[in-house]
């Protein structure tokens, strides 16, 4: 009898830990919305999202320049990262000898593990001066931020795509090779097309990381609230806006920064829904292999 009660209590206890992540999300949403909603309500949803003037001291809270900044940095970073990641993923899954793979795996894990502030710091002391020399200006720009973000999202896209490429049944490949196709023809016409849902999931996850990155972007993007006219102009991302101004924000300004987080939140939810649509479940890659 006692045993059964114990079993019952343990099961309930475990259930509570299991739903903890859902409770946490609800709590996060509640607090962000409670703090952010007053600003959006009083300034108007459309004015907030599509307003192009951010002047907290004058009570103007339009975040459009920052939405453009975030999307600009993100898509440029993807344009730089996707080709290299896909080539590297195919290399690891299909071409590299096992000795090479044993080097590349920890390399990609380490790339994923380096703290974002370290990337930002590297960007600040190496990339910014380099850009200044090459293209003039201050060196703080959308392009500089994208290059740093490219390196940061490489491991995400590579590991998910590699996993997708590896999960293609061996028969596909054998059939293609047996028909006399070369390795490249097999990759191009058989393996890669079959792995596309996984590859897209990897790209979406990389995009999520790029949109969410904060401090590395602050350190190199210039953080000006203007529409960029070229990739060499400085921009401010939504995330950066929060981190830069939260320290001294009061009153409606404080609420408007939580409002910025709401906009960010909707972007991420949109990506999550998109990722679920492609419905590719990644295996967990840790250390030297798959678990």
């Amino acid at each position: 009898m006692n045993n059964r009660l114990e079993e019952y209590l343990i099961e309930k206890g475990l259930f509570i830990t299991a739903i903890s992540s859902i409770l946490i999300i609800l709590l996060i949403i509640t607090f962000i919305f409670i703090e952010g909603f007053p600003a959006i309500e009083s300034y108007g949803v459309l004015n907030f999202v599509f307003g192009s003037t951010w002047a907290p001291l004058k009570g103007e809270f339009g975040v459009l320049t920052m939405i453009v900044g975030t999307l600009g940095i993100t898509f440029l970073a993807l344009a730089l990262a996707v080709p290299l990641s896909l080539l590297c993923a195919i290399f690891m899954a299909e071409i590299a000898p096992s000795s090479m793979r044993r080097i590349l795996k920890p390399v990609i894990e380490t790339l994923a593990a380096i703290p974002s502030v370290v990337y930002g710091f590297f960007g600040l002391i190496v990339l910014v001066p380099l850009m200044r020399e090459q293209f003039g200006g201050t060196g703080f720009s959308m392009l500089t931020a994208s290059v740093i973000l490219m390196v940061m999202i490489l491991p995400t896209i590579i590991s998910v795509s590699e996993d997708a490429l590896r999960s293609i049944p061996y028969e596909y490949k054998e059939a293609s090779l047996a028909l006399g196709a070369t390795q490249w023809q097999t990759i191009k016409n058989v393996i890669f097309p079959a792995a596309i849902p996984g590859v897209i999931t990897g790209i979406i996850l990389g995009m999520g990381r790029a949109i969410g990155e904060t401090l590395a972007v602050i350190m190199v993007a210039g953080n000006v609230t203007q529409f960029p006219s070229s990739v060499l102009d400085p921009v401010r991302a939504l995330t950066s806006n929060i981190a830069i101004e939260m320290g001294y924000a009061t009153g409606m300004h404080y609420n408007a920064l939580f409002g910025t987080a709401i906009v960010l939140f909707f972007m991420i939810i949109f990506l999550l829904v998109l990722a679920n649509y492609f419905h590719y479940k990644k295996k967990v890659v840790i250390g030297g292999g798959y678990l």
């Binding site: 992540s21 790339l111 996850l205 995330t239």
Partner: protein
Amino acid sequence: MGFRLISPKISQKIMKGVFWASGILTIIILVVIIGYILFKGLPVVNLEFLLSNPVDLGRAGGIFPMIISSMYVTLISGLVAAPLGVGAAVYLTEYSSEGHVVKLIRFGAETLASIPSIVFGLFGLSFFVIFLGLGWSVLSGGLVLALMALPTIFKVAEVSIEAVPKSYREGSLALGSTKWQTVYRVVLPAASPGITTGVILGMARSISEAAAILFAVGAALSVPISIFDPGRPLPLHLFIMATEGISLENAYGTAAVLVMIVLIITVVTNTMVERYQKKMMGR
């Protein structure tokens, strides 16, 4: 098939070269970044740098309080997130069958993993610091980081528990053990190397995070004694040193310490996973 500009054999050769180049380029990127940071930073790092307090806002002196702060927030995040993550993993693998609740729980963990760190930062400020009244403290910081570490620990623990062969459970149940006895004495010990790896990876995320604790730990330069004291973990220190242009040399040193920590964690988790795979899969 039509007219071909390049024969399949030649395009095969070209593409093979392109693939090799991309793999090597990825390695070069890592080596350049890590090499540069270590080359500039390691000369600054010595025992005195690690064990002394910063002087003049960090222009001189060391990073001892930052190391202690980092240890505090990382340990707190591990202590809070590990039971939650492992408990959730046990429930999902051992106690539930696939259904709406399980799907919802998985979606919850996935969503938690993709929330931007700065949003966690705002939540930490409004919930832990203000609403719960914990103030700017290493406790507030550690709790925020626990939320971020949770999905990592949960995911890795779940796969590790799933990897334990069914026969283990059947053997235990056949001997008359209850479900919990089976989980506690058989399944969890067998999965413990994988679970430990998950906890380490979760804590690795905590030790390298700065944006999420920006508004939660304060930025005090003194050594935190109790968990209610403010602190300044290493990544936050690096961010402040670099952006406020306080001391490039000490920023290099701090960055080098962070990179070394990351390298050590990668080596340790790799070794553990290799051992675990050998044990579970007999190869």
